[in-house]
Structures are given as structure tokens and as C-alpha cells.
């Protein structure tokens, strides 16, 4: 089971059916279910509260320590670095980024970065050629957005999907 199905009430299991009692309760159960059916506007405020709490938590998350070409050290939230890489990967046709790991590299440490990522590919995509496209896209994005060179980019295709 991977998705819970929006139920309008379960059909009785044949092995455990109580047709008479179920039929007798059916009407009131249906009334109860329709009474407690959330409308989209019911969840708007709740959604905002949840996301605000999550954002606050994200700001306290882990950091990646890097330094600029001029030798100025800084740390940046790891989530932000991963986001840069994800966008670059997603921009490649037929590729969806999954896990992204960016580690400080270079000498001095943090003057460059290594990237390891897993992706899902659309069925029929040639991996070897596409991997080079992904590498180019990620390398360009890391340099342009972070200002740090990516000296190694490992790609692991872990799943295939169909549109």
C-alpha cells in the first residue's frame, strides 16, 4: 500500500460481513462522513502554520563550510546548496533529482566542492550521454550560483519512471 485512498466507506470484508447491521448504520455513517469532510479553505491556515514551523526549523539546519576565491570563509545552509544542484538536475530533460550531497573539497578545504547525487530517469533516456549533460548543468550552476567550482560530480541513476 503506497497511497491511502480517499474512502467513501469501506465495503465490508466478505469474510467478516454483517450485511444487516452495516446496512442499518450506512445512512448515519454516510451523514457523519459528509459532516466531517474538510473544505479547501479549512486547510489554508493550517498549511501556513505547518510551513512556518518547518521553515523556522530549516533555518537551524546543518551548514556547508566553503570559501570564496579570495579566501573569505563562509557557511551556507546545506539545504540551500542542495537546492542549487537540484534545480540544475531537474532542468535536464527526463531527469529528476533525488538525493544530493555536496561536500567541501579543494586546497584550502572549501575552495571547491564535490557533488554526489541520485536521480530518477524517464524510461528510454540514454544514461551515459545524459549523465554528461547533468554534469555540465550542475557544474555550471554551482559555479554561477555559489561561485565555487565543482571538481567531482558522481551520478547514480536509481530509478526509472514513465510519464
Amino acid at each position: 500500500m503506497n497511497e491511502h485512498v480517499a474512502g467513501s466507506g469501506a465495503e465490508p470484508d466478505p469474510a467478516d460481513a454483517h450485511p444487516e447491521s452495516d446496512a442499518a448504520l450506512r445512512g448515519v455513517i454516510d451523514d457523519y462522513m459528509s459532516t466531517f469532510e474538510p473544505e479547501p479553505e479549512d486547510t489554508a491556515g493550517l498549511r501556513e502554520r505547518i510551513l512556518r514551523l518547518v521553515r523556522d526549523d530549516l533555518y537551524r539546519g546543518p551548514s556547508t563550510h566553503l570559501q570564496t576565491g579570495r579566501g573569505n570563509p563562509f557557511s551556507i545552509s546545506t539545504a540551500s546548496v542542495r537546492s542549487i544542484v537540484r534545480i540544475a538536475v531537474d532542468s535536464v530533460d527526463g531527469i529528476r533529482a533525488r538525493s544530493v550531497d555536496v561536500e567541501p573539497a579543494g586546497d584550502p578545504e572549501g575552495s571547491a566542492a564535490t557533488v554526489a547525487l541520485t536521480v530518477a530517469m524517464r524510461a528510454g533516456i540514454p544514461f551515459a550521454a545524459t549523465a554528461e549533460v547533468i554534469r555540465g548543468s550542475v557544474a555550471a550552476a554551482v559555479l554561477a550560483e555559489l561561485g565555487i567550482p565543482a571538481v567531482r560530480i558522481d551520478i547514480n541513476a536509481e530509478d526509472v519512471y514513465v510519464d
Binding site: S34, R82, R135, D159
Partner: protein, 236 residues
């Protein structure tokens, strides 16, 4: 200057999870970096949900990303599950405020503890388990303090707003009585019964969600059903 060094390319097709359904029709077969691949119609059955949210990403991708701090991916998960969870909690707890509190706690806990979810494809089951546990705790607390039981006004507000105005006074009263009978069930019976009867989960799915045996689920539902029939005698 910078360079991208050539690295070993690995193409690992995971163990095809539960989503590759057995005996599904084969769409295509091909060799992928030495790995023989078979594509069946079952491959896409796991993540299709036409509810109007961002459908670009499958559930595994969203969970893996959210686990690594991708707030957009988590937002998509919230979009997919918030309404379902709220409906489940409303039906289980019978009160809006408590239901919203449980959904909020559930999703925030999910965000913080997503690393403990070893199988991303099982997110749906996992999130319902978190919510079920919180509902059970909430019902237990209520039973320990009977004055905290569901506020009947909660019910009336929904009934007045949502149920047809043509509904008879008798029907509304039966609904309120049913709600009261539902509150007499034990917390475990109530959660189990709502998951099966109202959310449409099979016995096996309820058992997986709650982490109990299928026999326990059958027993709880049987006792819940008997109590409800008895409690509603003369009303239906």
C-alpha cells in the same frame, strides 16, 4: 579554473519495490548498463494522485528531497496529505481544534523525523501511523478527563454548514447520537474502525498502518461494529 573529472557512472535500478506489480503486462524490456530491465504497466501505479497539486514528482522523489531539507518537496507532501489527514482526524476525534492540532503535530514531526523513514515509498503508511498514534493519545487523554470530550457545538457547526438544510431534525439528532456512541469506543477501536470503515483501508492496510496483526484489526472492528449497532438500536 575548474574542471569536472570523469567519474565512474553507476546505474543501479533498485529492487523494484512493491510498485512493480506482479504479473503486470510488460510494456518494454531493455538492457540498461548491463542491467536487464522490464517495464510493466504496474510501474506508475504508486504515485499517481490527481488532486491538482504538483504532479511532476513521484512520492519517493518528494520524500528523498524533503528528507534533505527541500521545503518545496515537503510542501508538495503537505498538499497531498493534509486534507486526507484532516478528514481522518476530524472523523476520529470529532472536533476541529483537536483535529487541526494533531495534523499540525503529525506533519511537523514528519518533517523533523523523516530520516527515520527507511523506505520512502512507505511515506503514506508512515504518516497515517503517526497521525493514528496521536489520535489514540488524544482520545486516551480525553477519556482520562471526561470534561475534555468532544464539544457538541463542534458537531453542530459542521452539521449546520455542511449538511443539506433539508435534513430533518431527526436525522441531525441521529447524527449527534451516533457521534456520542462513537465516543464510547476505546481509542484503539475508534481509530481502527475509522481507518477501515471511513477511510476505506483494507484490514491488511489498517494492520500495516497501525503496526498490529490483521487479527487484532478484525477483532477491534468487530467489537466496534457491535458496540455501534447496540448503541444505535432504535435510531436507525
Amino acid at each position: 579554473m575548474w574542471s569536472v573529472l570523469p567519474t565512474v557512472q553507476t546505474a543501479v535500478i533498485d529492487e523494484p519495490h512493491a510498485r512493480f506489480q506482479k504479473n503486470s503486462p510488460v510494456l518494454a524490456e531493455w538492457t540498461f548498463c548491463g542491467v536487464e530491465c522490464v517495464l510493466t504497466t504496474g510501474v506508475v501505479a504508486y504515485d499517481v494522485d490527481m488532486t491538482g497539486h504538483d504532479d511532476r514528482f513521484d512520492i519517493v522523489t518528494l520524500v528523498v528531497r524533503a528528507r534533505e531539507g527541500d521545503i518545496d518537496a515537503f510542501e508538495s507532501l503537505v498538499d497531498r496529505y493534509e486534507t486526507k489527514l484532516l478528514r481522518f482526524c476530524l472523523r476520529t476525534l470529532g472536533g476541529r481544534q483537536d483535529a487541526e492540532d494533531v495534523v499540525q503535530d503529525t506533519l511537523v514531526q514528519a518533517w523533523k523525523s523523516m530520516n527515520t523513514l527507511s523506505e520512502p515509498a512507505a511515506f503514506g503508511t508512515w504518516i497515517y501511523r503517526l497521525a493514528s498514534n496521536k489520535c489514540t493519545d488524544m482520545l486516551r487523554r480525553r477519556m482520562a478527563r471526561p470534561s475534555d470530550a468532544q464539544d457538541p457545538d463542534d458537531m453542530r457547526i459542521h452539521a449546520d454548514n455542511r449538511v443539506s438544510v433539508e435534513k430533518s431534525v431527526e436525522a441531525r439528532t441521529a447524527l449527534e447520537h451516533f457521534s456520542e456512541v462513537l465516543q464510547t469506543l476505546s481509542s484503539q477501536q475508534r481509530v481502527t474502525w475509522v481507518l477501515h470503515q471511513m477511510e476505506g483501508l483494507s484490514y491488511a492496510e489498517v494492520a500495516t498502518t497501525l503496526g498490529v496483526s490483521e487479527g487484532s484489526v478484525r477483532g477491534r472492528i468487530h467489537r466496534a461494529r457491535a458496540a455501534l449497532v447496540e448503541g444505535m438500536e432504535g435510531w436507525t
